[in-house]
Protein backbone atom coordinates (compact mmCIF):
# COMPACT_ATOMS: atom_id res chain seq x y z
CA UNK A 1 0.00 0.00 0.00
CA UNK A 2 1.36 3.40 -0.87
CA UNK A 3 -0.20 6.65 0.24
CA UNK A 4 2.85 8.71 -0.64
CA UNK A 5 3.26 10.74 -3.81
CA UNK A 6 6.57 10.26 -5.57
CA UNK A 7 7.39 13.95 -5.65
CA UNK A 8 8.29 16.19 -2.78
CA UNK A 9 5.60 18.71 -1.84
CA UNK A 10 5.54 20.98 1.20
CA UNK A 11 2.20 22.05 2.62
CA UNK A 12 1.79 25.63 1.42
CA UNK A 13 1.35 28.20 4.19
CA UNK A 14 -1.96 30.00 3.87
CA UNK A 15 -1.55 33.49 5.30
CA UNK A 16 -4.39 34.89 7.38
CA UNK A 17 -5.13 38.21 9.07
CA UNK A 18 -2.88 37.32 12.01
CA UNK A 19 0.04 35.87 10.06
CA UNK A 20 0.05 38.12 6.97
CA UNK A 21 2.77 40.40 8.34
CA UNK A 22 5.15 37.47 8.78
CA UNK A 23 4.77 36.36 5.16
CA UNK A 24 4.87 39.93 3.82
CA UNK A 25 8.28 40.25 5.48
CA UNK A 26 9.69 36.99 4.11
CA UNK A 27 8.64 38.12 0.63
CA UNK A 28 11.01 41.08 1.18
CA UNK A 29 13.77 38.77 2.43
CA UNK A 30 13.23 39.87 6.01
CA UNK A 31 12.31 38.05 9.19
CA UNK A 32 9.61 39.81 11.22
CA UNK A 33 8.08 38.50 14.42
CA UNK A 34 4.93 39.66 16.15
CA UNK A 35 5.83 42.09 18.94
CA UNK A 36 3.72 43.89 21.49
CA UNK A 37 3.90 47.71 21.16
CA UNK A 38 3.06 48.07 24.86
CA UNK A 39 5.31 45.59 26.66
CA UNK A 40 7.80 44.62 23.96
CA UNK A 41 7.11 40.90 24.18
CA UNK A 42 7.78 38.84 21.05
CA UNK A 43 5.55 35.89 20.30
CA UNK A 44 5.59 33.21 17.62
CA UNK A 45 3.41 31.64 16.31
CA UNK A 46 1.42 34.90 16.18
CA UNK A 47 -1.71 35.41 18.25
CA UNK A 48 -4.57 37.95 18.18
CA UNK A 49 -3.47 39.42 21.51
CA UNK A 50 -0.21 39.70 23.41
CA UNK A 51 -0.04 36.81 25.88
CA UNK A 52 2.35 38.73 28.11
CA UNK A 53 0.19 41.82 28.77
CA UNK A 54 -3.10 41.37 26.93
CA UNK A 55 -2.54 44.16 24.40
CA UNK A 56 -4.90 43.54 21.50
CA UNK A 57 -2.75 45.07 18.78
CA UNK A 58 0.60 43.28 18.46
CA UNK A 59 2.57 44.38 15.39
CA UNK A 60 5.33 42.80 13.31
CA UNK A 61 8.85 43.91 14.07
CA UNK A 62 11.93 43.01 12.05
CA UNK A 63 14.38 40.83 13.96
CA UNK A 64 18.06 40.14 13.38
CA UNK A 65 17.59 36.63 12.01
CA UNK A 66 20.26 35.38 14.42
CA UNK A 67 19.51 32.33 16.49
CA UNK A 68 20.96 29.41 18.44
CA UNK A 69 20.32 25.73 17.83
CA UNK A 70 18.08 24.25 20.53
CA UNK A 71 17.44 20.73 19.23
CA UNK A 72 17.01 18.65 16.11
CA UNK A 73 15.65 15.34 14.90
CA UNK A 74 15.86 13.25 11.78
CA UNK A 75 12.48 11.88 10.78
CA UNK A 76 12.45 8.37 9.28
CA UNK A 77 8.73 7.62 9.56
CA UNK A 78 6.37 8.99 6.95
CA UNK A 79 4.23 11.53 8.79
CA UNK A 80 3.37 13.67 5.77
CA UNK A 81 2.90 12.09 2.33
CA UNK A 82 4.41 15.11 0.58
CA UNK A 83 7.66 14.55 2.50
CA UNK A 84 7.90 10.81 1.82
CA UNK A 85 10.30 11.40 -1.06
CA UNK A 86 12.60 13.35 1.29
CA UNK A 87 12.87 10.68 4.01
CA UNK A 88 14.85 10.66 6.14
CA UNK A 89 14.98 14.42 6.69
CA UNK A 90 16.33 16.54 9.51
CA UNK A 91 14.57 19.45 11.10
CA UNK A 92 15.67 21.70 13.90
CA UNK A 93 14.37 24.12 16.50
CA UNK A 94 16.22 27.40 16.85
CA UNK A 95 15.82 30.12 19.46
CA UNK A 96 15.94 33.67 18.10
CA UNK A 97 18.47 35.83 19.95
CA UNK A 98 15.85 38.52 20.63
CA UNK A 99 14.08 36.60 23.40
CA UNK A 100 14.27 33.44 25.47
CA UNK A 101 12.12 30.59 24.10
CA UNK A 102 11.27 32.50 20.93
CA UNK A 103 11.45 29.45 18.71
CA UNK A 104 11.29 28.77 15.01
CA UNK A 105 11.63 25.62 12.97
CA UNK A 106 13.80 24.89 9.97
CA UNK A 107 14.39 21.77 7.96
CA UNK A 108 17.59 20.62 6.31
CA UNK A 109 16.12 19.03 3.22
CA UNK A 110 18.71 19.22 0.45
CA UNK A 111 21.27 20.32 3.05
CA UNK A 112 22.12 16.96 4.64
CA UNK A 113 25.76 17.96 5.06
CA UNK A 114 24.65 20.45 7.72
CA UNK A 115 22.75 17.82 9.70
CA UNK A 116 25.87 15.79 10.36
CA UNK A 117 27.66 18.76 11.94
CA UNK A 118 24.95 20.05 14.28
CA UNK A 119 25.81 20.76 17.91
CA UNK A 120 23.75 22.26 20.70
CA UNK A 121 23.89 26.04 20.94
CA UNK A 122 25.55 26.59 17.58
CA UNK A 123 24.90 29.95 15.95
CA UNK A 124 22.31 30.00 13.21
CA UNK A 125 21.12 32.66 10.81
CA UNK A 126 17.97 32.94 8.75
CA UNK A 127 18.13 32.33 5.01
CA UNK A 128 15.44 32.72 2.38
CA UNK A 129 15.88 29.96 -0.19
CA UNK A 130 14.22 30.41 -3.55
CA UNK A 131 11.10 28.25 -3.49
CA UNK A 132 9.25 26.72 -6.39
CA UNK A 133 7.24 29.89 -6.79
CA UNK A 134 4.12 28.46 -5.18
CA UNK A 135 3.07 30.05 -1.92
CA UNK A 136 4.92 32.38 0.44
CA UNK A 137 8.71 32.49 0.86
CA UNK A 138 9.61 30.00 3.61
CA UNK A 139 12.43 31.10 5.92
CA UNK A 140 15.06 28.50 6.88
CA UNK A 141 18.10 28.55 9.12
CA UNK A 142 21.71 27.67 8.42
CA UNK A 143 24.85 27.69 10.57
CA UNK A 144 26.08 31.28 10.79
CA UNK A 145 29.73 30.24 10.27
CA UNK A 146 28.87 28.54 7.02
CA UNK A 147 27.32 31.69 5.59
CA UNK A 148 30.46 33.68 6.38
CA UNK A 149 32.71 31.10 4.70
Amino acid sequence: MSDAPATFARPIPRPDAISQGFWDATARGELAIQRCPDCGNYQHPPRPICHACGCAAPVYARVSGEARLVSWTTTYHNVLPGFAAALPYACMVVELVEQKELFMLSDLIGRAEIASGLRFGMKMRVVFPAGDGEGPVLPQFAPAEEQQA
Binding site: A4, R10, P11, I12, P13, T73, V79, V93
Partner: protein, 395 residues
Amino acid sequence: MSWEHAGKVAVAGIGFSAIERRTARPLGAFALDAAVAAVADCGLKISDIDGLATYPSAPFVGAANRDGEDVITVEFFLTQKRMGEIAWYAQAGEGLVCASVRDATNALLAGACKYVLVWRAMYVPPGTYGSAAMRHATGDAQFTAPYGVVSPLQWHALVYRRYLETYGAKRESMAALVLNSRANANRNDHAIFADKKLTPADYASARMIADPLCLLDCDVPVTACVAMVMTTTERARDLRNRPALVAAVAHQTAVRHHPIHYTLHDHIESGKPFADRLWRDAGLGPKDMSAAQLYDGFAPSTWYWLEACGFCGRGEAHAFTQGGRIALDGELPLNTFGGSLSQGRLHGMGHLAEAVLQLTGRAGPRQLPDPHAIAVLDGSPMLRGSGAIFTRDPH
Protein backbone atom coordinates in the same frame (compact mmCIF):
# COMPACT_ATOMS: atom_id res chain seq x y z
CA MET B 1 -4.74 19.19 54.54
CA SER B 2 -5.96 16.40 52.34
CA TRP B 3 -9.05 16.47 50.15
CA GLU B 4 -12.33 16.22 52.10
CA HIS B 5 -13.76 13.83 49.53
CA ALA B 6 -10.78 11.44 49.42
CA GLY B 7 -12.00 7.86 49.25
CA LYS B 8 -15.70 8.67 48.78
CA VAL B 9 -15.80 7.64 45.12
CA ALA B 10 -14.58 4.32 43.75
CA VAL B 11 -14.04 2.21 40.68
CA ALA B 12 -16.25 -0.83 41.04
CA GLY B 13 -15.64 -2.78 37.85
CA ILE B 14 -13.39 -3.10 34.79
CA GLY B 15 -14.12 -4.45 31.31
CA PHE B 16 -11.79 -5.11 28.39
CA SER B 17 -12.67 -5.73 24.77
CA ALA B 18 -10.28 -7.73 22.62
CA ILE B 19 -7.12 -5.77 21.78
CA GLU B 20 -6.30 -5.97 18.07
CA ARG B 21 -4.42 -4.03 15.42
CA ARG B 22 -6.29 -3.30 12.19
CA THR B 23 -9.55 -5.18 12.08
CA ALA B 24 -12.73 -5.35 10.04
CA ARG B 25 -14.86 -5.61 13.17
CA PRO B 26 -16.46 -2.24 13.95
CA LEU B 27 -15.14 -0.26 16.90
CA GLY B 28 -18.70 -0.10 18.23
CA ALA B 29 -18.61 -3.84 18.84
CA PHE B 30 -15.42 -3.45 20.88
CA ALA B 31 -17.05 -0.67 22.91
CA LEU B 32 -20.11 -2.74 23.71
CA ASP B 33 -17.94 -5.71 24.68
CA ALA B 34 -16.01 -3.54 27.13
CA ALA B 35 -19.11 -1.87 28.56
CA VAL B 36 -20.95 -5.15 29.07
CA ALA B 37 -17.86 -6.70 30.68
CA ALA B 38 -17.39 -3.74 33.04
CA VAL B 39 -20.99 -3.80 34.16
CA ALA B 40 -20.94 -7.59 34.59
CA ASP B 41 -17.75 -7.23 36.64
CA CYS B 42 -19.82 -5.23 39.15
CA GLY B 43 -22.79 -7.57 39.06
CA LEU B 44 -24.87 -4.79 37.50
CA LYS B 45 -26.93 -4.62 34.31
CA ILE B 46 -26.13 -2.20 31.48
CA SER B 47 -29.48 -0.50 32.18
CA ASP B 48 -28.23 0.38 35.69
CA ILE B 49 -25.76 2.81 34.15
CA ASP B 50 -27.05 6.37 34.48
CA GLY B 51 -23.86 8.35 33.86
CA LEU B 52 -21.48 8.43 30.87
CA ALA B 53 -17.97 9.88 30.67
CA THR B 54 -15.27 9.56 28.03
CA TYR B 55 -12.44 11.30 26.26
CA PRO B 56 -13.71 10.66 22.73
CA SER B 57 -11.13 12.32 20.47
CA ALA B 58 -9.91 10.23 17.53
CA PRO B 59 -6.22 9.55 18.21
CA PHE B 60 -5.04 10.24 14.65
CA VAL B 61 -5.50 12.88 11.97
CA GLY B 62 -7.90 12.32 9.11
CA ALA B 63 -10.58 10.51 11.15
CA ALA B 64 -14.10 10.27 9.78
CA ASN B 65 -15.33 10.83 13.35
CA ARG B 66 -18.27 8.50 12.79
CA ASP B 67 -19.61 6.93 15.98
CA GLY B 68 -19.00 3.20 16.13
CA GLU B 69 -16.48 3.36 13.28
CA ASP B 70 -13.47 5.30 14.53
CA VAL B 71 -14.76 7.09 17.65
CA ILE B 72 -17.08 6.18 20.52
CA THR B 73 -18.64 9.35 21.87
CA VAL B 74 -21.26 9.74 24.58
CA GLU B 75 -23.81 9.83 21.78
CA PHE B 76 -22.93 6.23 20.87
CA PHE B 77 -24.16 4.93 24.23
CA LEU B 78 -27.05 7.39 24.47
CA THR B 79 -28.46 5.89 21.28
CA GLN B 80 -28.01 2.22 22.27
CA LYS B 81 -31.52 0.99 22.96
CA ARG B 82 -30.41 -1.37 25.71
CA MET B 83 -29.25 1.53 27.89
CA GLY B 84 -31.41 2.78 30.76
CA GLU B 85 -32.20 6.39 31.52
CA ILE B 86 -29.05 8.49 31.53
CA ALA B 87 -29.01 11.27 34.13
CA TRP B 88 -25.61 12.79 33.44
CA TYR B 89 -22.77 12.70 30.91
CA ALA B 90 -19.54 14.50 30.09
CA GLN B 91 -16.98 14.41 27.31
CA ALA B 92 -13.50 15.57 28.19
CA GLY B 93 -11.79 17.82 25.65
CA GLU B 94 -8.36 17.47 27.26
CA GLY B 95 -6.41 15.37 29.71
CA LEU B 96 -7.08 12.03 28.04
CA VAL B 97 -9.34 9.55 29.80
CA CYS B 98 -8.17 10.22 33.32
CA ALA B 99 -10.03 13.52 32.89
CA SER B 100 -13.18 11.42 32.66
CA VAL B 101 -12.36 9.94 36.07
CA ARG B 102 -12.29 13.51 37.33
CA ASP B 103 -15.61 14.30 35.64
CA ALA B 104 -17.27 11.14 36.97
CA THR B 105 -15.90 11.74 40.47
CA ASN B 106 -17.33 15.24 40.54
CA ALA B 107 -20.70 14.06 39.23
CA LEU B 108 -20.95 11.25 41.79
CA LEU B 109 -19.96 13.57 44.65
CA ALA B 110 -22.62 16.00 43.49
CA GLY B 111 -25.23 13.25 43.38
CA ALA B 112 -25.87 13.79 39.68
CA CYS B 113 -26.00 10.05 38.99
CA LYS B 114 -25.30 6.66 40.61
CA TYR B 115 -23.27 4.48 38.25
CA VAL B 116 -20.98 6.08 35.66
CA LEU B 117 -19.58 4.17 32.70
CA VAL B 118 -16.12 5.55 31.89
CA TRP B 119 -14.46 4.33 28.67
CA ARG B 120 -11.85 4.99 26.06
CA ALA B 121 -12.10 3.46 22.59
CA MET B 122 -9.19 3.47 20.16
CA TYR B 123 -9.13 2.68 16.46
CA VAL B 124 -6.34 1.99 13.98
CA PRO B 125 -7.17 3.24 10.48
CA PRO B 126 -5.84 1.64 7.29
CA GLY B 127 -2.59 3.01 5.84
CA THR B 128 0.51 4.47 7.45
CA TYR B 129 -0.34 5.41 11.04
CA GLY B 130 0.01 9.10 11.75
CA SER B 131 0.36 10.16 8.14
CA ALA B 132 -2.18 12.40 6.45
CA ALA B 133 -1.98 14.50 3.34
CA MET B 134 -1.94 18.27 3.74
CA ARG B 135 -1.93 20.64 0.78
CA HIS B 136 -2.21 23.91 2.70
CA ALA B 137 -0.98 24.77 6.16
CA THR B 138 -3.26 27.02 8.17
CA GLY B 139 -3.21 28.49 11.68
CA ASP B 140 -0.15 27.50 13.74
CA ALA B 141 0.63 24.79 11.19
CA GLN B 142 1.81 27.56 8.82
CA PHE B 143 4.97 27.59 10.90
CA THR B 144 5.47 23.84 11.34
CA ALA B 145 3.99 21.71 8.54
CA PRO B 146 5.95 23.37 5.67
CA TYR B 147 9.07 22.02 7.42
CA GLY B 148 7.67 18.50 7.49
CA VAL B 149 6.95 18.70 11.23
CA VAL B 150 3.37 17.67 11.92
CA SER B 151 3.46 14.79 14.37
CA PRO B 152 3.70 14.52 18.16
CA LEU B 153 6.46 12.01 17.64
CA GLN B 154 8.60 14.80 16.19
CA TRP B 155 7.87 17.16 19.11
CA HIS B 156 8.80 14.35 21.46
CA ALA B 157 11.97 13.56 19.52
CA LEU B 158 13.11 17.20 19.62
CA VAL B 159 12.56 17.46 23.37
CA TYR B 160 13.99 14.01 24.06
CA ARG B 161 17.26 14.98 22.37
CA ARG B 162 17.30 18.07 24.56
CA TYR B 163 16.76 15.93 27.66
CA LEU B 164 19.61 13.60 26.72
CA GLU B 165 21.92 16.57 26.16
CA THR B 166 20.88 18.47 29.28
CA TYR B 167 21.24 15.55 31.68
CA GLY B 168 24.02 13.59 30.00
CA ALA B 169 21.68 10.63 29.45
CA LYS B 170 22.01 8.00 26.74
CA ARG B 171 19.11 6.79 24.61
CA GLU B 172 20.36 3.24 25.28
CA SER B 173 19.23 3.75 28.91
CA MET B 174 15.59 3.67 27.74
CA ALA B 175 15.93 -0.06 27.05
CA ALA B 176 15.43 -0.81 30.77
CA LEU B 177 11.98 0.82 30.78
CA VAL B 178 10.87 -0.64 27.45
CA LEU B 179 12.02 -4.16 28.37
CA ASN B 180 10.39 -3.91 31.80
CA SER B 181 7.08 -2.99 30.19
CA ARG B 182 7.32 -5.89 27.76
CA ALA B 183 8.11 -8.36 30.54
CA ASN B 184 5.01 -7.12 32.39
CA ALA B 185 2.86 -7.39 29.24
CA ASN B 186 4.04 -10.99 28.94
CA ARG B 187 2.10 -11.55 32.19
CA ASN B 188 -1.04 -9.80 30.92
CA ASP B 189 -3.62 -11.46 28.69
CA HIS B 190 -5.05 -8.02 27.91
CA ALA B 191 -1.97 -6.92 25.99
CA ILE B 192 -1.28 -6.89 22.27
CA PHE B 193 2.23 -8.17 23.01
CA ALA B 194 1.17 -10.72 25.66
CA ASP B 195 3.03 -13.49 23.85
CA LYS B 196 5.78 -11.51 22.15
CA LYS B 197 9.11 -11.40 24.01
CA LEU B 198 11.56 -8.55 23.67
CA THR B 199 15.33 -8.78 24.12
CA PRO B 200 18.01 -6.13 24.66
CA ALA B 201 19.25 -6.95 21.16
CA ASP B 202 15.77 -6.20 19.75
CA TYR B 203 15.84 -2.80 21.39
CA ALA B 204 19.36 -2.03 20.21
CA SER B 205 18.44 -2.86 16.61
CA ALA B 206 15.01 -1.18 16.50
CA ARG B 207 14.62 1.16 13.56
CA MET B 208 14.55 4.90 14.11
CA ILE B 209 11.26 6.76 13.83
CA ALA B 210 12.48 10.27 14.58
CA ASP B 211 15.86 10.08 16.26
CA PRO B 212 16.54 9.69 19.14
CA LEU B 213 13.12 7.95 19.28
CA CYS B 214 13.13 4.42 17.91
CA LEU B 215 10.13 2.27 17.06
CA LEU B 216 10.12 0.59 20.48
CA ASP B 217 9.96 3.99 22.22
CA CYS B 218 6.54 4.56 20.60
CA ASP B 219 3.36 2.92 21.84
CA VAL B 220 1.65 0.45 19.58
CA PRO B 221 -1.63 1.61 18.01
CA VAL B 222 -4.49 -0.80 18.66
CA THR B 223 -8.20 -1.13 18.11
CA ALA B 224 -9.76 -1.75 21.52
CA CYS B 225 -11.98 -0.36 24.24
CA VAL B 226 -11.59 -0.50 27.99
CA ALA B 227 -14.42 0.57 30.27
CA MET B 228 -14.95 0.89 33.98
CA VAL B 229 -17.84 1.58 36.30
CA MET B 230 -17.51 4.29 38.92
CA THR B 231 -19.87 4.88 41.82
CA THR B 232 -19.77 6.08 45.40
CA THR B 233 -17.68 3.95 47.70
CA GLU B 234 -20.77 3.35 49.79
CA ARG B 235 -22.66 1.85 46.83
CA ALA B 236 -19.56 0.00 45.63
CA ARG B 237 -19.40 -1.93 48.90
CA ASP B 238 -22.63 -3.70 47.86
CA LEU B 239 -21.26 -4.79 44.47
CA ARG B 240 -19.41 -7.92 43.42
CA ASN B 241 -15.77 -6.88 43.72
CA ARG B 242 -13.73 -4.94 46.17
CA PRO B 243 -13.58 -1.28 44.99
CA ALA B 244 -10.51 0.88 44.39
CA LEU B 245 -10.95 4.27 46.03
CA VAL B 246 -10.24 7.64 44.42
CA ALA B 247 -7.94 9.40 46.89
CA ALA B 248 -7.24 12.33 44.57
CA VAL B 249 -7.90 13.36 41.01
CA ALA B 250 -6.63 16.41 39.19
CA HIS B 251 -5.80 17.82 35.80
CA GLN B 252 -2.89 19.79 34.50
CA THR B 253 -3.43 23.54 34.46
CA ALA B 254 0.13 24.86 34.32
CA VAL B 255 0.99 27.69 31.97
CA ARG B 256 3.05 26.42 29.08
CA HIS B 257 6.10 28.36 28.06
CA HIS B 258 5.34 27.93 24.41
CA PRO B 259 2.20 27.16 22.38
CA ILE B 260 4.04 24.38 20.52
CA HIS B 261 5.77 21.70 22.53
CA TYR B 262 9.42 22.53 22.08
CA THR B 263 10.59 23.00 25.62
CA LEU B 264 11.82 20.56 28.21
CA HIS B 265 10.14 22.84 30.74
CA ASP B 266 6.77 22.19 29.16
CA HIS B 267 7.43 18.46 29.12
CA ILE B 268 8.58 18.11 32.73
CA GLU B 269 8.02 21.16 34.92
CA SER B 270 4.46 21.75 33.76
CA GLY B 271 3.52 18.40 35.31
CA LYS B 272 4.82 19.33 38.75
CA PRO B 273 2.13 21.68 40.14
CA PHE B 274 -0.51 19.17 39.18
CA ALA B 275 1.37 16.20 40.63
CA ASP B 276 1.92 18.22 43.82
CA ARG B 277 -1.83 18.83 44.00
CA LEU B 278 -2.46 15.10 43.77
CA TRP B 279 -0.03 14.40 46.63
CA ARG B 280 -1.55 17.12 48.76
CA ASP B 281 -5.14 16.04 48.13
CA ALA B 282 -4.37 12.39 48.78
CA GLY B 283 -2.27 13.17 51.84
CA LEU B 284 0.30 10.80 50.35
CA GLY B 285 3.65 11.16 48.63
CA PRO B 286 5.75 9.32 46.05
CA LYS B 287 7.29 7.11 48.74
CA ASP B 288 3.82 5.90 49.74
CA MET B 289 3.05 4.45 46.31
CA SER B 290 2.98 0.67 45.88
CA ALA B 291 3.35 1.17 42.12
CA ALA B 292 3.04 3.85 39.46
CA GLN B 293 1.23 3.68 36.13
CA LEU B 294 2.79 6.54 34.16
CA TYR B 295 1.72 7.36 30.64
CA ASP B 296 4.05 6.14 27.95
CA GLY B 297 2.63 7.13 24.58
CA PHE B 298 6.28 7.84 23.94
CA ALA B 299 8.69 6.24 26.39
CA PRO B 300 10.41 9.50 27.44
CA SER B 301 7.09 10.73 28.85
CA THR B 302 7.45 8.15 31.61
CA TRP B 303 10.87 9.55 32.50
CA TYR B 304 9.33 13.03 32.60
CA TRP B 305 6.46 11.87 34.84
CA LEU B 306 8.89 10.16 37.23
CA GLU B 307 10.64 13.51 37.62
CA ALA B 308 7.52 15.73 37.64
CA CYS B 309 5.96 13.57 40.36
CA GLY B 310 9.08 13.48 42.48
CA PHE B 311 9.69 9.73 42.27
CA CYS B 312 13.24 10.81 41.50
CA GLY B 313 15.10 14.08 41.08
CA ARG B 314 15.26 16.23 37.97
CA GLY B 315 17.39 14.62 35.28
CA GLU B 316 17.62 11.36 37.21
CA ALA B 317 14.92 9.19 35.62
CA HIS B 318 17.31 7.64 33.10
CA ALA B 319 19.42 6.32 35.98
CA PHE B 320 16.49 5.68 38.38
CA THR B 321 14.88 3.20 35.98
CA GLN B 322 17.94 0.91 35.84
CA GLY B 323 18.88 -2.15 37.87
CA GLY B 324 15.44 -3.65 38.44
CA ARG B 325 14.08 -0.78 40.52
CA ILE B 326 10.93 -0.54 38.34
CA ALA B 327 10.35 -4.31 38.07
CA LEU B 328 7.38 -6.07 39.68
CA ASP B 329 9.60 -6.93 42.66
CA GLY B 330 11.43 -3.61 42.62
CA GLU B 331 11.23 -0.48 44.75
CA LEU B 332 8.70 1.18 42.40
CA PRO B 333 6.89 -1.26 40.12
CA LEU B 334 6.20 0.76 36.99
CA ASN B 335 3.57 0.19 34.30
CA THR B 336 2.97 -3.24 35.75
CA PHE B 337 0.60 -4.21 32.93
CA GLY B 338 2.94 -3.42 30.06
CA GLY B 339 2.17 0.25 29.51
CA SER B 340 0.90 1.65 26.23
CA LEU B 341 4.23 0.52 24.80
CA SER B 342 3.39 -3.16 25.17
CA GLN B 343 -0.29 -3.44 26.09
CA GLY B 344 -1.35 -1.09 23.32
CA ARG B 345 -2.25 2.51 22.82
CA LEU B 346 -5.30 2.95 25.07
CA HIS B 347 -4.60 6.57 25.99
CA GLY B 348 -4.34 5.91 29.71
CA MET B 349 -7.27 3.55 30.12
CA GLY B 350 -4.90 0.62 30.54
CA HIS B 351 -3.03 2.55 33.25
CA LEU B 352 -6.27 3.22 35.13
CA ALA B 353 -7.55 -0.34 34.79
CA GLU B 354 -4.27 -1.73 36.07
CA ALA B 355 -4.28 0.46 39.18
CA VAL B 356 -7.73 -0.90 40.00
CA LEU B 357 -6.88 -4.54 39.25
CA GLN B 358 -3.72 -4.38 41.38
CA LEU B 359 -5.42 -2.71 44.36
CA THR B 360 -8.29 -5.18 44.29
CA GLY B 361 -6.01 -8.20 44.07
CA ARG B 362 -7.10 -9.14 40.56
CA ALA B 363 -3.91 -8.67 38.54
CA GLY B 364 -3.27 -12.39 38.03
CA PRO B 365 0.31 -13.47 37.32
CA ARG B 366 1.64 -9.92 37.75
CA GLN B 367 -0.15 -9.25 41.05
CA LEU B 368 1.92 -7.21 43.50
CA PRO B 369 2.05 -8.69 47.01
CA ASP B 370 0.20 -6.08 49.06
CA PRO B 371 -0.47 -2.87 47.11
CA HIS B 372 -2.31 -0.12 48.98
CA ALA B 373 -1.86 3.01 46.86
CA ILE B 374 -1.12 3.54 43.16
CA ALA B 375 -0.59 6.74 41.17
CA VAL B 376 -1.86 7.05 37.60
CA LEU B 377 -0.66 9.91 35.42
CA ASP B 378 -2.27 10.22 32.03
CA GLY B 379 -1.05 12.08 28.99
CA SER B 380 2.35 13.71 28.81
CA PRO B 381 3.12 16.40 31.37
CA MET B 382 3.14 18.91 28.50
CA LEU B 383 -0.37 18.05 27.42
CA ARG B 384 -3.43 18.88 29.42
CA GLY B 385 -2.75 15.68 31.30
CA SER B 386 -4.73 14.37 34.20
CA GLY B 387 -4.05 12.02 37.04
CA ALA B 388 -5.47 10.14 39.97
CA ILE B 389 -4.30 8.37 43.07
CA PHE B 390 -6.17 5.23 44.02
CA THR B 391 -6.07 3.51 47.39
CA ARG B 392 -7.25 0.12 48.59
CA ASP B 393 -8.46 1.36 51.97
CA PRO B 394 -9.96 4.57 53.30
CA HIS B 395 -7.34 6.71 55.01
